[in-house]
Symmetry: C2
Subunit: 481 residues, 2 copies
């Protein structure tokens, strides 16, 4: 324990606790591994058996380790995490409301964009987790061998080779799509923007899930649309019954839903519910816009389904991109506009003619060479591992009463802090300490989620991140007291 001596103000047992946590983080102790016996650790550290025992009991209480009768203590496989969030707070359903969150959202975005801030708010994988070398090599070769094509204008709908690759991927994901069904966009947000403009007019009401990605709220506000929120349950997504009820009550022009790993609560709507929702909406002729951008980051072996795969008459518009898997800076996304193809084409043509060509060609070639699946397997495993590490530290630093999501995919954790914690205050305090987080308030048009924060798991674990979490946890503790 030389390197993990007792710090100022720390009890002896806490130093032992920290030592064990450090061994788990560094990988010296893996999940499921047996811990040193009380006797061995006591003799190794020179601390009394009761001190070591107190540390182990504390770790057990926090769910980091578990004791098995007659076998000793083991690093817990399951319960090392904070308790699960139990579902959204009971927001008042209320009527459609104009969206007016953009002031706070902009303040948050400005903070998250600061290069000096601890990146707990940005939801993109670290550059080191993206295929930078392959993409650079491919892009350089395209510039050399297809200079004119790469620098010249291209069709509004996108570079044909990319449309083909996107269609192939969609087919692999159980959607019946040909290249002509695709429209290449400048990222997933542009696909959402085109979708909303294709099916809504200013003043229309859109059904969204709650919480929802704040960029959707910005977009709704910017287009002069109103929102009706249906609750998103971390463990089962949105329910067909809730949606049916909202459709009966309000005049809904369109729905915007995330099929899987909803940002921020990582909720996944089961495929059976997806099918039911698509049917519900089809009977009422209401278009459904889905944001499929993080489904590729599933931790389990099976990719969960999309709403689009249950779409029989083109009312589902699927939005996605390569921003979280290949490059955010490329701005290459796509839209499957279904029956709204003509309108979507017109909007793309009159927004920016077409997306930048070189990045489109590079992504197409990357996919054509079959590099994507291997990369995704690695990326998923790394993100899952980072999320585990993050969970472990939340257990360590955050106040009693904190709950958190246990996602099966995606890039974010959604923390429910003790009720006394005001997450917007926490955001500002964290910002002053150069830590970027997203407060819950920006994920809804209602006054909900005031004690929630979203944390990103995309950045490679580092001492900077650990310190950031510790500082943040301390702030939350003070606020919770």
């Amino acid at each position: 324990m030389q390197s993990h001596g007792k710090e100022q103000g720390e009890y002896l047992y806490q130093a032992v606790e920290r030592h064990v946590l450090d061994m788990i983080e560094s990988g010296s102790l893996g999940l499921g591994d047996r811990l040193p016996s009380l006797r061995i650790l006591s003799s190794k550290t020179g601390l009394s058996l009761s001190t070591v025992n107190q540390a182990y009991l504390e770790l057990e209480r926090k769910g980091v380790i578990e004791s098995r009768p007659r076998s000793g203590f083991f690093v817990s496989r399951k319960s090392r995490r904070l308790p699960r969030t139990e579902g959204p707070p009971p927001g008042n359903q209320g009527g459609p409301r104009p969206v007016t969150r953009s002031g706070l959202i902009r303040t948050v975005l400005e903070c998250l964009g600061r290069p000096d801030a601890v990146p707990l708010g940005v939801i993109a994988p670290d550059a080191d987790l993206l295929p930078l070398r392959d993409v650079t090599k491919i892009t350089t070769a395209i510039l050399r061998d297809h200079t004119r094509e790469a620098l010249d204008y291209a069709p509004v709908s996108g570079v044909p080779a990319l449309r083909t690759q996107v269609a192939l991927r969609c087919m692999e994901h159980s959607m019946s799509v040909i290249p002509e069904d695709t429209l290449i966009t400048a990222g997933c947000l542009e696909a959402l923007y085109i979708s909303l403009r294709s099916v809504c007019r200013t003043g229309d009401t859109v059904l969204i899930q709650s919480p929802t990605y704040y960029c959707f709220l910005q977009l709704l506000e910017n287009l002069g649309l109103r929102a009706v929120e249906v609750p998103s349950h971390p463990d089962r997504g949105v329910s067909p019954a809730d949606i049916a009820r909202a459709l009966k009550t309000f005049d809904i022009a369109a729905c915007v839903l995330a099929p899987n790993y909803n940002n921020p609560d990582a909720s996944l709507t089961p495929d059976s519910a997806k099918r039911e929702i698509v049917g519900l909406l089809a009977r009422r002729d209401i278009p459904l816009i889905e944001d499929d951008v993080v489904t590729d980051l599933h931790f389990g072996s099976r990719r969960p389904g999309t709403y689009k795969q249950f779409d029989r008459d083109g009312r589902v518009l699927l939005c996605s991109s390569f921003s979280k898997t290949i490059s955010g800076g490329f701005r290459v996304g796509w839209l499957l506009p279904g029956r709204y193809r003509e309108k979507a084409w017109e909007i793309k043509a009159t927004t920016n003619v077409h997306s930048s060509v070189l990045p489109q060609m590079a992504v197409a070639e990357y996919l054509r060479q079959g590099r994507m699946e291997r990369h995704l397997r690695k990326l998923r495993a790394t993100v899952e591992q980072q999320m585990d590490t993050m969970h472990l530290h939340l257990t360590r630093y955050f106040p009693r009463g904190t709950r958190v999501t246990h996602p099966e995919g995606g890039l974010v954790l959604w923390l429910e802090l003790p009720e006394k914690v005001n997450a917007v205050d926490l955001f500002f305090e964290a910002r002053d300490a150069s830590i970027g987080i997203a407060p819950g308030a920006i994920f809804s048009t209602q006054d909900k989620f005031s004690n929630y924060i979203r944390l990103s798991c995309g950045t490679i674990w580092s001492e900077q991140i650990r310190q950031g979490l510790e500082t943040l946890g301390n702030m939350a503790r003070r606020m919770a007291d």
Copy 2:
């Protein structure tokens, strides 16, 4: 004349005429050069003096050559062009109208995008006139040396290095601009789209010049805006008096004007008129959106001014891009949003977050290395020369009564054909012969310009272009008969 024998159905004198034209095109005879004397050409070709004389008289009639007393025939410097267009036809001013041209516009755009079509409709310089090699070299170096930055997300407003370069260029062009005043967009059209959404709401009326670029009309239609047209005079642009009159009559939410080389009539509004118009609009608090995309292609030594340079209170929004000078496929443009900066930022953020990063960095570096001015000098000279060649062939192939603009910059010629010619019919007939042109009807919301066509001078002169023009001229002749 071995290689230029008489073709089937051609009179002997016409073969001579063609021979002379070929010598001019090939550069064997320059503008102002003396032609071989009648006697010499007669003995060289074995044709009678009277045949050669008839050919020279015909060429003189067409303005290709001129005779000077006691000196012989010379290639005409000035009068080799068709007569100038005299101004826009007297359209009925009428009230604001919803814009509904997009069906025909889309048909035209699809034709212009056909790779097999003779490119007389596309208004971009030929790839060979763009700095492909330099840009490729720079882009490759950026990918190698700044991989992460090039592939990562960037600020909404654009890559800082590019904003700096854009601001420097604007300052050189007499505009008072700092980097913070710029917003990088995905091409000039996106700048226009952001501008219109920043200052207008659905149903608003926008003042445009007539004729105007059809993409503006598409955009207005797509955003549900109405248009009031003020005439654009090929030789003096729009007049402050016409604008003042329209402002008195209609409730105008914004103006969209091209300061120089308006597409399609290449008109240039004098700087004094620009100043007056900016003043007029400022007094009424009406924003002015200007499309400055081709001003860099001025044939004279002086770059004409912009509306923005007379703007004192931020009501002018300047839109431009590098699509006509560096790369169309890059989609790199910019907006100077003036006092509408916040709103423009929000629209960009909610449309596609930011423009593709690698192209932004490449353009910034190209500008930083000081390569632009040399390239532009060469580009301008080439485009001017191509326009001269085009003029020469119009004289040769188009029916009597055809008039044309004599632009001092830009990329296009605007042809007024004899009144009997229906340019939309001509467009369809040309399309069947794989020739792409833009018919006049798509440049206005009114039923004007039905006998006008726009021809692009951006493509490097070739036998394909010559043949295309000849075929087109023959079609027009038949229609005019």
